[in-house]
Symmetry: C2
Subunit: 345 residues, 2 copies
C-alpha cells in the first residue's frame, strides 16, 4: 500500500522545492521549460492528483453541493437528484446527499454537519416536520454564514433564498381540465392537508378548473390525507369509502399510489376506466406507465427541476458577491401525459 503522492514527495524526489513543483504543474512561466517538463513527466508517471481536501481548505471552497431531501425511495426525488448530479458534474461540482427522513432533527443535524466546511451551498426540500414546526433557524444560520440555499418542491416563505417550484396549481388545473373536456362532471380529488404546500396548491388548481367550467366546488369531494407519499391500510380504507360514497366520474390524485388505489376500488365496484371513471394523477413514475390501464399523469419534470436548482446555486457560488440579495422563484412547467385512464378528446 503506497501512500498517495504529494507535492512534497515529488519535490524531495526531484530535489526541488515544493513551490517549484506546484508552479510547474500549473504551467507557471516562472519555471524553466526543462524543470517544468521533468516535473510534469514525473507527476504523470506516478499519477499525481492534487488532494481535494487541501485545496478546499486553501481556497475556502469545496466545490460541493449539499442536497437534503426528505426521502430517497421516491421517484420524483430521484429524478431531481439525477438532474442536480448532471448539472453539478458539468460544472465540476460534487454532490453530497443527505436524507432527513421527514424528521426535523435529522434535517438540522445534517445541515449543520455539511455547513461546517463540507459544502458551499445547499439544495433542499424541507421535511414535513419542519413545515409543521415552522422552525427555520438552521436555514437562516447557513444563509447568514454566506452559503446560498435553493429550495425546491417543498418550500417555505420568509427565507432569503431562491426557489424552484413545479407549477403545481397549473399542473393540477390542467389535469382536471382534461377530465372536464372529456366529459367528466363530478370530479373528486385526493390530496393532502394544507400545510403541505404542494397539496394545497394542487387543491387550488383543482378548484380553479371546476370554477372555469362553472361547477361549484363540493367540499365532500375533496379528501385530504395526512401523508403525501405513503399509503397505509387506513389510508386505503379512506380512499375506498371516498370512492364508494361518492358517485364520481373523475378522480384527480396528488400521487400515483392514491390513483392506483382508486383504480382498484373502481374495479371492485364493477366500473370501467376510463368510460365510467377517469383518473388523473401527479408524478409520472413506473406505476403510471405500467399500470393497467396506464395512468394519465401530470409529469413534473424532476430532472429539469434538479438541473435548474443546481444551475441557480452554482451561479450564486461562482459569481462574486455582487448584486447580492436577489432571490427569485423559478417555475418548472408540468406536462400532461395522456394515457389509458382518461377518455381521448
Amino acid at each position: 500500500m503506497r501512500r498517495k503522492l504529494t507535492l512534497k514527495l515529488i519535490a524531495k524526489e526531484l530535489n526541488v522545492s515544493i513551490s517549484t513543483v506546484s508552479k510547474a504543474l500549473r504551467d507557471s512561466a516562472e519555471i524553466s521549460e526543462e524543470t517544468r517538463e521533468k516535473i510534469k513527466a514525473f507527476a504523470k508517471l506516478y499519477n499525481y492528483k492534487p488532494n481535494n481536501i487541501a485545496l478546499s481548505l486553501k481556497n475556502r471552497k469545496t466545490n460541493t453541493i449539499g442536497v437534503i431531501i426528505p426521502q430517497i425511495v421516491h421517484h420524483f426525488f430521484t429524478t431531481v437528484i439525477r438532474g442536480i448530479e448532471q448539472m453539478a458534474r458539468e460544472h465540476n461540482y460534487n454532490v453530497i446527499i443527505c436524507l432527513s427522513n421527514n424528521d426535523f432533527d435529522k434535517e438540522v443535524i445534517n445541515m449543520e454537519l455539511l455547513a461546517n466546511g463540507s459544502t458551499d451551498g445547499f439544495i433542499l426540500s424541507v421535511s414535513k416536520e419542519t413545515m409543521l414546526k415552522e422552525d427555520y433557524h438552521h436555514l437562516n444560520e447557513v444563509i447568514e454564514q454566506g452559503m446560498p440555499v435553493v429550495m425546491f418542491d417543498r418550500v417555505v416563505e420568509g427565507i432569503a433564498c431562491d426557489r424552484v417550484l413545479i407549477d403545481d396549481k397549473a399542473g393540477a388545473k390542467n389535469g382536471v381540465l382534461h377530465m372536464l373536456k372529456t366529459g367528466c362532471r363530478k370530479i373528486g380529488i385526493i390530496t393532502t392537508k394544507d400545510y403541505v404546500s404542494v397539496g394545497r396548491l394542487r387543491t387550488e388548481g383543482y378548484m380553479e378548473a371546476l370554477e372555469e367550467y362553472g361547477i361549484k366546488v363540493d367540499k365532500k369531494l375533496i379528501l385530504k390525507m395526512d401523508n403525501i407519499d405513503e399509503c397505509s391500510e387506513a389510508c386505503e380504507k379512506k380512499i375506498e369509502d371516498f370512492i364508494k360514497n361518492n358517485d364520481l366520474d373523475g378522480v384527480f390524485t396528488v400521487n400515483e399510489v392514491f390513483a392506483v388505489n382508486v383504480a382498484r376500488v373502481v374495479h371492485q365496484e364493477g366500473k370501467k376506466i376510463p368510460d365510467d371513471v377517469s383518473i388523473v394523477c401527479f408524478t409520472d413514475g413506473d406505476l403510471s406507465q405500467h399500470f393497467i390501464p396506464s395512468l394519465t399523469t401530470v409529469s413534473q419534470h424532476g430532472e429539469e427541476m434538479g438541473r435548474k436548482a443546481a444551475e441557480i446555486l452554482i451561479n450564486k457560488l461562482e459569481r462574486p458577491e455582487d448584486e447580492e440579495e436577489e432571490y427569485g422563484t423559478t417555475y418548472i412547467d408540468t406536462s400532461l401525459i395522456q394515457r389509458e385512464s382518461t377518455r381521448s378528446l
Copy 2:
C-alpha cells in the same frame, strides 16, 4: 454575512492563544477551570463548530463514504442507499453519492475524483459497461492506495475487496419452486445476458428449480434481454412474442417491468393470472405492490444490504491495519412475498 467562527478568532477575542482555545474546547486538564469555562461559554454563545475540512486534512480522515451506483431512479438502489445512509449516520459518517449512469468513463472519473481526499472508502455497484470491458484499474488503484472497497449487487471477481450479495440464485430458485409447488409445469424466464452477474445467477436458480422437479430445461423458454433495468418498445415486442409463442403456465422475470409486460400480454391473450399463468419477479417495488393483480416477488432487502455494506466498510476503516487482506462475501437472504400473481399452496 458574518464569517464562520474559528479558533483563531476566538483566541483573538479572548486574548489567549489558539492552542489554549483548542485545548479548552476539548476539555484538556492543562487549561485552568476558569479559562476553560470562559472559552467554552464564548464558543457556545457564538455557536462555534470545528471546520470539517481542516479536521479531515489534519487527521487524514474524512469520515465520508463514497457510493457509486449505476443509477438512482431505481427502487432497489434507492433502498440500498437508504440502508447505507442509516448505518453511516449511526457511525458519524457522511455519504457522497455519485452516479455512473452505467458508463465506464463516468465511473472512473467519479472514483478518481472522490479518491483524491474526499472519501475514506467506497461502496459500489459496478456499471454495466465496466463489466463488459472488464477494466478494473480504477478499482485496483484506490485499493492500492489503502482505501477499502465494498462491492454490492453487481460485483466482479479478482478485486481485493469485500462483497455483499443478494443470494440471487437461491432467490430465483425459490420463486420458481413456488410456481412448481402450485402446479406450474411449463415455466419460462425472462432474464439478461450472462455478463450481468445477477442475470446469470438468477437463470441458474431457475434451472436448478426445474431440475429439482425433474423438468428438463428448454432453452427456448429462456429469454435473455440486453438491459436489466429498462424496457424499450423493442423489448416489449420481444416479450410479447415470447409469451405468444410459448404456451407457458408460469413466468419468472428478473425485474418488475418485465413482469408487468408479461401480465399485459397474458391479458391480451385472454388468459387469467394466476389461474392460467403465474408470474413471479425480482425486486419488490411499487409496481409489484400496486399492480393488479399484485405481483408475487422475490424481495431483495436492499436496505439490509446497504446497512451491511456500510457496516463492513466502516469496520475496515475504524480498525487499524491489523489482519489486513481478509476479504469476505456476505449474502443477504431474499424472501418470497406471495401476492395475487401466483396460486396459493
